[in-house]
């Protein structure tokens, strides 16, 4: 009875994620590649303005011929594929250069909080004493901070640098990992294989590290993908309200913010392209997180 419904559920879910998964992986891979080589391949320097201000992108119909022109060298100046913004920056160059900032911040913040959170979660779950209780209460308080406002406070008051954004996000995300890991450790440590390891004569530290830790990391790793996506959103949001990286850093949120003032005048392109980039990237990570969840948590 139960076994059949499980087979069934597993089967449909597997097929559903298949194509979605491909989309997710493609998006994420593209963003990763751009983070590596984006600034190097961008046709214009993303931080230097050009004389052409607020120029709309060429109509789509002209793209093939323009592209051909660039390849053959018959078009002297590389076209502004996505147009230019009100300060004359080439939007295309900035969109493809931004992953280096956005993704680095997200990955670094997530990596830091993951390491710290999993480590603290393991300790808090496996060795329960006054120290770990205090730690959990601290984590409670940290978690009750309103996330976006706290991030604004931390970054604005500490100085609007990439490093400070990373530290602020890491600080806000660590409690999530502590909680996730701790509750998994609490359930894993009562399992039979832990008892068996103890009966074989392993020390508690070895059991915690060799047996419990590897089996308790799945929730945190699954959460990672989601957290990376949200970190990108948060970074962009901070820039949008003027509490993130400083102009003219190529950063998606900053670009949307620049374009926002022009949108009521009908200049849609400065905001549209970086927005699509964020939207797709975060969606890609969400899809990836969901696939991981199905594979490891289900």
């Amino acid at each position: 009875m139960a076994d059949v419904s499980e087979i069934q559920a597993g089967a449909t879910q597997k097929r559903r994620t298949d194509w979605l998964f491909v989309v997710g992986v493609s998006i994420v891979s593209l963003v990763v590649v751009l983070a590596a080589i984006g600034p190097a391949i961008s046709p214009y320097d993303p931080t230097v303005s050009t004389p052409t201000v607020s120029m709309p992108p060429p109509p789509l119909a002209q793209w093939p011929s323009l592209f051909w022109g660039v390849l053959t060298g018959s078009v002297e100046q590389t076209p502004h594929w996505f147009g230019t913004d009100s300060s004359g920056f080439d939007i295309f160059s900035r969109v493809i250069s931004a992953p280096r900032i956005d993704l680095t911040i997200a990955l670094a913040a997530n990596g830091l909080s993951l390491l710290l959170g999993v480590f603290l979660g393991l300790i808090a779950g496996y060795f329960r004493n006054i120290g770990t209780e205090v730690m959990m209460r601290t984590s409670d308080v940290l978690q009750s901070f309103p996330v976006f406002i706290s991030a604004m406070i931390l970054v604005a008051l500490a100085g609007r640098s990439t490093t400070n954004i990373v530290i602020a996000l890491a600080l806000l995300y660590t409690p999530i990992y502590v909680r996730l890991t701790r509750s998994e450790v609490l359930s894993q440590k009562t399992r039979g294989y832990v008892e068996a390891a103890r009966a074989l004569g392993n020390s508690e530290l070895i059991i915690a590290l060799r047996h419990v830790l590897p089996n308790s990391m799945a929730p945190a790793l699954i959460q990672s993908s989601v957290t990376i996506g949200f970190a990108i959103l948060l970074t962009a949001g901070l820039s949008f309200v003027g509490a993130g990286v400083r102009p003219p850093t190529p950063e998606w949120g900053l670009m949307i913010s620049t374009g926002a003032t022009q949108i009521v005048l009908g200049e849609w392109w400065p905001s549209l392209f970086p927005g699509i980039a964020i939207s797709a990237t975060v969606f890609g990570f969400a899809v990836l997180g969901n696939a991981l969840e199905r594979r490891y948590a289900g």
């Binding site: 406002i149 604004m152 509490a243 949307i256 009521v264 964020i278 969606f283």
Partner: protein, 342 residues
């Protein structure tokens, strides 16, 4: 039983708030920001700097500042214990009244958004749950994953472009009432309520019109996680042993539907609470896009101006409201689901 639980929770909440207040108090003073030079300018004389520092009260030992803020030093004036959150360094008016002017709008925005998000998400989620793995379910699943991972401020801008600039059906993103409209007298602070009390129907509809896009944006973002949750809970309820047994016992269809619905909605309470709390701080961006003048925008202004009393006030109030909402929803959860013990 219930009373004891509520009092217990409130006590824990108050303790948490106190710890949080002190933490924020120290945190903003530890960070390397210099509010004094922000107010007197970087090129001011040492004398002017010292004067400004005195005016802001930052020359006193930090312990004294804290005692003053908490209201533990009554001879120095009122503080938190007396319900006073201090005076804004930028405007010079009391933080309490400034928050009082901005908070209602945010609450209205979020509550309206939740209302509509629910009206849309619950039927959609249930529809998807009826045939798990079917076409509708797959589409709903992708939608929920997409909507739940979107930059709301960008969608807000996009909506402004489409509905204001292109279609012209929405007002410009410049606040909750047009600058030409006289606002109804603030009785409750909630614009929709106040305009009705004042009998100002045109202001009421104008406010609704201005809420259209920001609420639409938030509904879109919120519907993602809500749809996902409703679907998941409903699928779980429909596949549960007790629904199966209800069929085996020959219960009528409507009784079975009631069993499943109740089981699906109970765990939703927790998620609503978390989302609501998240939105209180997260509505910042949408408020900013539409220049609505809610507590989020007030927070941005205060933070960028290093207005310490205002920052502390905002964090305190937002957290307090979140904790209160969690408590209310936990009580509601316990009413629906007897397994939740107080």
């Amino acid at each position: 039983m219930l009373l004891r639980y509520v009092i217990g929770r409130l006590l824990v909440g108050v303790t948490q708030l106190l710890v949080l207040t002190i933490a924020v108090f120290f945190l903003i003073r530890l960070l390397p920001a210099d509010p004094v030079s922000r107010f007197v300018g970087l090129n001011s004389s040492d004398e002017a700097y010292a004067q400004a520092e005195r005016n802001l009260g930052l020359d006193r030992p930090i312990g004294t500042q804290l005692a003053h803020y908490l209201g533990l030093a009554p001879d120095e004036g009122s503080g938190l214990l007396q319900g006073d959150l201090g005076t804004s360094w930028v405007t010079g008016s009391p933080v309490v009244s400034e928050i009082g002017q901005t908070l209602p709008l945010t609450l209205e925005l979020i509550t309206l958004s939740f209302l509509f998000a629910f009206l849309i998400a619950v039927p959609v989620g249930m529809l998807a749950a009826l045939r798990p793995g079917g076409k509708a379910d797959k589409a709903v699943f992708v939608y929920s994953l997409f909507a739940g991972s979107q930059p709301e401020f960008w969608w807000g801008i996009l909506f402004v472009y489409v509905f204001f600039f292109v279609l012209g059906v929405a007002p410009p993103p410049l606040g909750i009432l047009s600058p030409l409209t006289t606002a109804p007298p603030a009785t409750t602070g909630f614009i929709l309520v106040d305009s009705l009390i004042a009998g100002n129907v045109s202001a009421f509809f104008e406010a609704l019109h201005h809420f259209m896009l920001p609420v639409g944006t938030l509904v879109f973002i919120l519907s993602g996680p809500i749809v996902k949750m409703v679907r998941q809970n409903m699928v779980r309820a429909l596949q549960s042993d007790f629904v199966l047994y209800a069929r085996c016992a020959g219960l009528p269809r409507r009784v079975i539907a009631f069993y499943a619905l109740r089981a699906a909605m109970a765990p939703a309470m927790t998620l609503i609470g978390i989302l609501y709390g998240f939105m209180l701080g997260g509505a910042v961006l949408v408020e900013s896009v539409f220049a609505l003048g809610g507590i989020g925008q007030y927070a941005i202004r205060s933070i960028l101006a290093f207005d310490y009393p205002a920052i502390q006030g905002v964090v305190l109030v937002i957290t307090a409201i979140s904790l209160l909402i969690y408590l209310l929803l936990d009580i509601a959860h316990a009413f629906i689901d007897p397994r939740v013990a107080y």
